[in-house]
């Protein structure tokens, strides 16, 4: 079976900040590689987690998949058909919804919730399924009171705004929902409610989800597969359970070890990962992780590791994945 959304060898460069003379000479400003030869596929009805630190290019990938930023190289395809032109993306957007990290900011500040919920129907010329009660019914579906329809975005709590954005994302019965940090800034109990809502919708409607987050606990509990991104490159992907049980890439291992333990008896003694993610303007040579990698060897600084399929459904990009995993 073909995948729902295929990202094939995608690279994305942006022109960096130009200084002095560079501004006068077009093309001389530094180019920043945000995404580099990235491949990813989301299956029908699958929940895929995409994890990485800020600056890893997660949100850029989501925007590129919606056609909000242009890719430099590679190809995208939705349900087996290539997505290139503006009209291709218009079709993709009818079947793919994007949920933003800041749910309140993703709602138009001076329009009531009701107006924003029926907007997808208006834009795409689809009749509202339940007439005047459409907004209320959409709110009920995500567990909100109908009276929320008459509120403005800034009058909503974080959890309510998140539910409203889920409701809006589901308006046109999409096949794929891309959720950027769906639980950021939420309390633990509300976080669990949003995740339950999403898994429930997936079960009932057969939706696919791409969940972009740096919260590993979220990924561990709701996703089928997980992909780990580092500085615009895929470090590792595979079934969630397997990756958490036996991470191959040293970066994945460090991320898992970095999670704070809600148990004073399991306090870590040492630091899992030193230093910070490098700037895209100063991309390290060879393996981009080598400068922070606890297991780096001379080869890592000079030679780029190639994708290594350890099993048909597990990929890792590390020279020493198989020997260092113990």
């Amino acid at each position: 079976m073909s995948a729902l959304y295929d990202v094939n060898n995608v690279s994305l460069d942006l022109v960096g900040p130009a200084s002095g003379l560079q501004r006068l000479l077009p093309g001389s400003a530094p180019r920043m590689t945000i995404l580099s030869s990235l491949s990813l596929s989301i299956g029908h009805g699958e929940m895929l987690g995409l994890v990485g630190e800020s600056g890893s290019g997660k949100s850029t990938l989501a925007r590129a998949m919606m056609g909000l930023v242009d890719i430099t190289d590679g190809s995208l395809s939705f349900e087996g058909r290539p997505v290139k032109s503006r009209t291709d993306f218009m079709k993709v957007r009818q079947q793919t919804a994007l949920m933003f990290q800041d749910a309140v900011a993703s709602l138009s500040p001076r329009r009531k919730v009701a107006a924003q919920l029926i907007e997808p129907f208006e834009i795409n010329g689809v009749p509202r399924p339940d007439g005047d009660r459409t907004a209320e019914i959409m709110l009920e579906r995500v567990g909100l009171a109908p009276s929320i329809a008459q509120r403005y975005p800034h009058e909503l709590s974080g959890g309510q705004a998140r539910r409203v954005s889920v409701a809006r994302a589901l308006a046109l019965k999409p096949k794929l929902v891309i959720a950027d940090e769906p639980t950021a800034g939420l309390d633990v109990s509300v976080q669990a409610e949003i995740l339950n809502l999403m898994t429930g919708l997936r079960r009932d409607m057969g939706l696919s989800f791409l969940i972009i987050t740096h919260n590993l606990a979220v990924v561990r509990h709701v996703t089928d597969r997980v992909a780990v991104l580092y500085l615009g490159r895929m470090a590792e992907w595979g079934p969630t359970r397997e990756v958490f049980a036996m991470p191959y890439h040293p970066y994945t291992r460090s991320l898992i070890a970095a999670e704070p333990q809600a148990d004073p008896r399991k306090r870590r003694a040492d630091l899992a990962l030193k230093g910070e993610i490098p700037s895209v303007l100063a991309r390290p040579s060879g393996c981009e992780f080598h400068a922070r990698c606890p297991l780096a060897r001379p080869r890592c600084a000079v030679e780029e590791p190639q994708p290594n399929m350890i099993t048909p459904d597990r990929m890792v990009r590390c020279h020493f994945a198989e020997e260092t995993r113990t």
Partner: protein, 284 residues
């Protein structure tokens, strides 16, 4: 803040200066609208028998060099002043919004082109430009309005463009794009309501500037043509007859000062009322 006009009104009324400004502006608006009923005399009726009369029960503000009732002329002058100011800033504001939105949200080349136009406009000295246009078209109220519109548009457009640019990078505009919203929809439904409030503040602060400009140009005989009553004309008449009747200048100056204060207070109060950062939020 957006939870309605009601809250903006409440915030506006909570500010003493806002209430004062509002009251002054309202008074002038009533004067302008109901001038024929409020004015005790015809402002154009010449009565040379009673020229330069001091304030009296018959003529509360006295009369001018042709014996015309000054109070009536001031009241009708409000009509001219507000008419010119509101028409000019209104049209300039609308044009500024349109051009600013297009420059801020439209393609880059169009933005550069518009910015070039605005910059060349603003680089001309305003008074020189005004004099040139008036020399070509001849002094009249319509010319005056045209000049004011032309010199105000670049400022408003730049203001709207700056606001639009920062909004364009915000999540909710990107969310609209991700939902396939057309550019027209994004501009009219989502950008416009977010920029129009701030522009209203700027406009209300600019109205007194325009009133002063009208009075100034009329004073120089380059604006409203006599005998149409205008505060500038009255001021000019008062200046010419300063020796015979020193009070006329003062009588003509008072409404100018009051209108300036009124609109400025109102504008400042409006700015505070519209600014969500100034509204106290409870923190828990």
């Amino acid at each position: 803040m957006a939870s309605g006009k009601r809250n903006v009104w409440r915030a506006l009324l909570a500010e003493p200066l806002g209430v004062m400004g509002g009251a002054i502006v309202l008074t002038f608006v009533i004067m302008a609208l109901f001038a024929p009923w409020l004015a005790p005399y015809d402002p154009l009726k010449i009565d040379v028998m009673h020229k330069f009369s001091n304030p009296s029960l018959a003529h509360w503000a006295g009369t001018d060099q042709l014996g015309r009732d000054l109070l009536s002329r001031i009241i009708y002058g409000a009509r001219t002043a507000l008419g010119v100011a509101i028409t000019a800033t209104g049209i300039a504001g609308l044009a500024g919004i349109l051009l600013g939105l297009v420059a801020g949200y439209g393609p880059r080349w169009l933005d550069s082109l518009l910015i070039l136009c605005f910059d060349s406009m603003t680089s001309l000295p305003m008074i020189m430009f005004a004099l040139a246009v008036i020399t070509v078209l001849g002094p009249s109220t319509a010319t005056l309005i045209l000049v004011i519109i032309l010199v105000s548009i670049p400022g408003y457009a730049r203001f709207i463009r700056a606001q639009t640019l920062s909004l364009t990078r915000s999540d909710f505009i990107m969310a609209e794009q991700a939902m396939n919203a057309s550019n027209a929809r994004i501009i009219l439904r989502h950008l416009l309501p977010n920029v129009v409030g701030q522009l209203l503040v700027v406009l209300s602060m600019d109205i007194p500037v325009v009133i002063m400009l009208e009075a100034g140009l009329s004073y120089l005989s380059l604006g409203v043509k006599p005998p149409t009553p205008s505060w500038g004309n009255i001021l000019y008449d008062g200046y010419v007859s300063l020796r015979q009747s020193p009070g006329m200048v003062i009588v003509a100056g008072i409404p100018l000062i009051l209108a300036t204060l009124g609109f400025t207070f109102l504008g400042e109060a409006l700015r505070d009322a519209l600014d969500p950062r100034l509204q106290l939020r409870t923190l828990t």
